[in-house]
C-alpha cells in the first residue's frame, strides 16, 4: 500500500470538502474556518511533494495571516448571516449549467494527460530552502525586487485610500 498516495487522496478530499463547505455556508465565520481547512490541506499536499518550505509559507501566509485578517474584518462588521444572492432560479440554473460545462471540459482535458505521467517541472527535493534562496536572489532577482516595489505601492494605496479626509 502506497501511504503517500493514501495521504494525497486524504488531503485532496479534505481540500475539496473545505472548498465546497466554504462557499455553501451561510455564516461567514464558518466559511472562513473551512477556508483555513482548505489551505492547510493544500499545505499537506506540498509536504507530500517534498516542498517543505512551500508548506511553511502556505500555512504562515495564507492560513496564519490572510484568513486571520478576513476573520478580523468579519467580526468587526458583525457579518452574521450573509443574505442569499438575489439572482433567482434562472441565474442559479445558468451558473449550474456553465459550471458543469466547464467541469466537463477540464475533466476531458486533464483526462487526456496520462495518469502517472511525470510532470516536466522538476521537484525541488532536499535542501529546498537553499535552492529557493538561490532561485529567488540570483536567477529571479529582478522579479523579486519588482515585487518589493509592488508591495510598497500597495502600501501607499492603503494609506491614500484610508487616510482621513483633509
Amino acid at each position: 500500500m502506497d501511504w503517500g498516495l493514501v495521504l494525497f487522496y486524504f488531503f485532496a478530499a479534505l481540500a475539496v470538502v473545505g472548498g465546497v463547505m466554504m462557499i455553501t455556508r451561510k455564516n461567514a465565520v464558518h466559511s472562513a474556518v473551512y477556508l483555513v481547512l482548505t489551505f492547510v490541506s493544500v499545505a499537506g499536499i506540498y509536504i507530500l511533494l517534498g516542498a517543505d518550505f512551500l508548506f511553511a509559507v502556505q500555512v504562515l501566509v495564507y492560513a496564519g495571516g490572510i484568513v486571520v485578517l478576513f476573520l478580523f474584518v468579519i467580526m468587526l462588521v458583525n457579518l452574521e448571516e450573509s443574505r442569499r444572492l438575489s439572482g433567482g432560479k434562472l441565474h442559479l440554473a445558468a451558473s449550474a449549467v456553465l459550471t458543469c460545462l466547464l467541469f466537463g471540459m477540464l475533466a476531458t482535458l486533464f483526462g487526456r494527460v496520462a495518469v502517472g505521467q511525470p510532470s516536466v517541472a522538476a521537484p525541488l527535493g532536499e535542501g529546498n530552502l537553499q535552492l529557493m534562496g538561490i532561485a529567488l536572489f540570483r536567477d529571479y532577482m529582478l522579479p523579486f525586487e519588482v515585487v518589493s516595489l509592488l508591495l510598497l505601492v500597495a502600501m501607499i494605496g492603503a494609506i491614500v485610500l484610508g487616510r482621513p479626509r483633509a
Binding site: 477540464l106 476531458t108 482535458l109 486533464f110 487526456r112 494527460v113 510532470s119 516536466v120 517541472a121 522538476a122 536567477d139 529571479y140 532577482m141 529582478l142 522579479p143 519588482v146 515585487v147 516595489l149 509592488l150 505601492v153 500597495a154 501607499i156 494605496g157 494609506i159 491614500v160 485610500l161 479626509r165 483633509a166
Partner: protein
C-alpha cells in the same frame, strides 16, 4: 561587463523612474514642494524618455546581436519593440500629468502620491514591455495594475470613483488569478515559463498537451481583460466613467498598449508553435470587440462611457495585428507588428487628446462628461472645437488624420495576410463608429451652449492638447517619419534561435 552590470545598465530607465517615484513621494510630504510635484513628475518622465532614447543613440540601430539583447538571465529583453513602447508609455504619462495638474485641484484631492503612482505604473509597464518570461511579465503587469486600482479610486469623496475602483479591483484581481493559473499549467506542461524556451520546445516537436491549450486559453482570458476585449470588457465602461478623467486617459492608452506588448510577446514568440489553436480564439475576440464596442458606443450619452466603448472597439482592431502575426512568412509577420505598433502609438495620442477635452469641461461643480456638454463648443471656443473635431475624425479614421494611417496599415496587413474577411469587418465597423464620433462634432457645431461656466483651461492642458493635435495632423499628412521609426524598431527586434 558582468551579467548584473549589464542588466542594471539596460534597466536604467526603470531604475531612474522608480527612484524618481520615491523622490516625489518624499517631496510631497513637505508642504513647500507640493505645488511642484506635478511639474517635477513630468520632468522625471521626460528625463527617463531621454534615457530610453539614448540606447539607440549610443548603440546605433543595428549594433546589437540578438543574444546581447537579453538581460537578467533571459528574463528581460531590450529590443526595438521594447524601446518603442517604453517611449510610448512615457509620452502618455507626460501628457496625462500635464492634464492632471489643474484637474486635481478642481476635484479637490491631494496630489502628492498621485504622481508617484503614475511613475510606478510606468515602471510596471516598462518591465512588461521588456519581459520575455511569464514571470517578469506578470510582476510588471501586477505593478501596473495595482497602481491603477488606486488611481481609479483616487477621488475618495466621489461614489462613482469608489464603485469604479471596487469593480476594477475585483475583476482585475480575478483576472490576475486566471493569469497565474494559466502560467502554472503552461509550466507544468513544458517545464519553463520563458517565452523563447517555450518557442524552442515547440520547435523540438513536443506534442501539444491539453494542459498547454487550457493554459493558453486562460492567458487569453486574462490579457483579454487587461485590453478590455469583449467578452471581458464589462469593467471598462464603469471604470472609465468613475475614474478621474486624467487617469482614464492614461488607463485607456498606456495600460492598453502595455497589455498588447505582453500579448505580442506571449503569442507571437512563446505560443507561435500553437498558432492554429490561438488564431480562432483571437479572431472571435477581435470581431466581438469591434462589433459590440461600436454598437454599444452608439447608445451612450456620457462622453467617458462612449470613449470606453470606443476603446473596446479599438482593442478589437489592434487584435487584428496579432492575428496577422500568426502567419509563418517573416515579412507578413513584420507587417502585422508594424501595423500594431503604429496603431497603438497613434491611438495613444488621439485618445489622450479626446480625454483632455473632457478634462477641460470639468469645471467648478459641473461634471462636464456628457456628450451634450460639448454643445456650442464652436461658438465659445473655436480652437478647442477644432481640436476636438480632429480627435473625433481621427478616432473615426477619416483620411488626412493620424487615425487613418493606423487603420490603413492594419487593413493592409490583414489583406496581405489573407484575412480579407477581418479587414471587411473592420471597415464596416469603422463606418458604424463614424456615427457616434460625428454626433459629438454635430453637438459642437450645430447646438447652442448649455451653460456659461468658464472652461477649465490651464497651460498644461493647452500644451497637452497642442501636442496631440500637432501629432494627429502631422502624422496624418506626413506619416513617413513615424512609419520609418517603427520599421527600424522592428528590425532591431532580436529573435533568439
Amino acid at each position: 561587463m558582468s551579467d548584473l552590470a549589464q542588466g542594471l545598465y539596460f534597466l536604467r530607465p526603470e531604475l531612474l523612474l522608480s527612484f524618481y517615484g520615491f523622490f516625489l513621494l518624499l517631496l510631497s510630504t513637505l508642504p513647500v514642494f507640493r505645488r511642484w510635484v506635478g511639474g517635477l513628475a513630468a520632468l522625471g518622465c521626460l528625463l527617463t524618455l531621454g534615457v530610453v532614447l539614448s540606447f539607440p543613440y549610443q548603440q546605433g540601430m543595428n549594433v546589437f546581436q540578438a543574444s546581447d539583447l537579453f538581460f537578467f538571465g533571459n528574463l528581460m529583453i531590450l529590443d526595438g519593440m521594447a524601446l518603442f513602447f517604453k517611449g510610448a508609455f512615457l509620452l502618455a504619462a507626460i501628457l496625462s500629468i500635464l492634464i492632471s495638474l489643474r484637474y486635481l485641484d478642481t476635484e479637490g484631492v491631494q496630489s502628492g502620491e498621485y504622481y508617484s503612482l503614475i511613475c510606478f505604473a510606468v515602471v510596471g509597464m516598462m518591465i512588461m514591455a521588456s519581459g520575455t518570461d511569464l514571470l517578469s511579465i506578470f510582476v510588471g503587469l501586477e505593478l501596473m495594475a495595482i497602481c491603477f486600482y488606486i488611481l481609479v479610486g483616487y477621488l475618495r469623496g466621489n461614489r462613482k470613483s469608489n464603485e469604479a475602483a471596487m469593480k476594477y479591483f475585483l475583476l482585475g484581481a480575478f483576472s490576475t488569478g486566471v493569469f497565474v493559473y494559466g502560467a502554472s499549467l503552461i509550466y507544468s506542461a513544458k517545464g519553463t515559463t520563458n517565452l523563447y524556451q517555450l518557442a524552442a520546445r515547440f520547435e523540438q516537436g513536443d506534442p501539444h498537451s491539453p494542459l498547454l491549450i487550457l493554459g493558453m486559453i486562460l492567458l487569453t482570458v486574462s490579457l483579454g481583460f487587461k485590453v478590455a476585449a469583449v467578452p471581458f470588457h464589462m469593467w471598462a465602461p464603469d471604470a472609465y466613467e468613475g475614474a478621474p478623467t486624467a487617469v482614464t486617459a492614461f488607463l485607456s492608452t498606456a495600460s492598453k498598449a502595455a497589455a498588447f506588448v505582453a500579448f505580442v510577446r506571449i503569442y507571437a514568440v512563446g505560443f507561435l508553435g500553437m498558432r492554429d489553436q490561438w488564431l480562432p480564439l483571437l479572431a472571435v475576440l477581435s470581431v466581438a470587440s469591434m462589433t459590440l464596442g461600436n454598437t454599444s458606443a452608439l447608445l451612450q450619452d456620457n462622453m467617458k462611457r462612449m470613449l470606453a466603448y470606443s476603446s473596446i472597439a479599438h482593442a478589437g482592431y489592434v487584435l487584428i495585428g496579432i492575428i496577422v502575426m500568426s502567419r509563418p512568412e517573416v515579412d507578413t509577420m513584420q507587417t502585422g507588428m508594424l501595423s500594431l505598433m503604429l496603431y497603438l502609438m497613434i491611438y495613444t495620442f488621439i485618445n489622450l487628446g479626446a480625454f483632455s477635452m473632457v478634462v477641460m469641461l470639468r469645471r467648478e461643480n459641473l461634471a462636464g462628461d456628457r456628450v451634450v456638454d460639448f454643445s456650442g463648443l464652436h461658438q465659445r471656443s473655436p480652437m478647442a472645437a477644432f481640436a476636438m473635431l480632429v480627435f473625433m475624425l481621427s478616432l473615426a479614421g477619416i483620411p488626412a488624420t493620424a487615425g487613418f494611417i493606423g487603420k490603413y496599415y492594419l487593413f493592409a496587413a490583414a489583406m496581405k495576410a489573407h484575412f480579407a474577411w477581418l479587414a471587411v469587418v473592420m471597415v464596416l465597423n469603422s463606418v458604424v463608429s463614424a456615427f457616434y464620433y460625428l454626433r459629438v462634432v454635430w453637438h459642437m457645431y450645430q447646438k447652442p451652449p448649455v451653460d456659461s461656466v468658464r472652461y477649465a483651461v490651464s497651460p498644461g492642458l493647452v500644451a497637452a492638447v497642442g501636442i496631440c493635435l500637432a501629432f494627429n495632423l502631422l502624422v496624418g499628412i506626413f506619416p513617413e517619419t513615424l512609419i520609418e521609426l517603427t520599421r527600424r524598431s522592428i528590425l532591431m527586434l532580436g529573435r533568439a534561435g
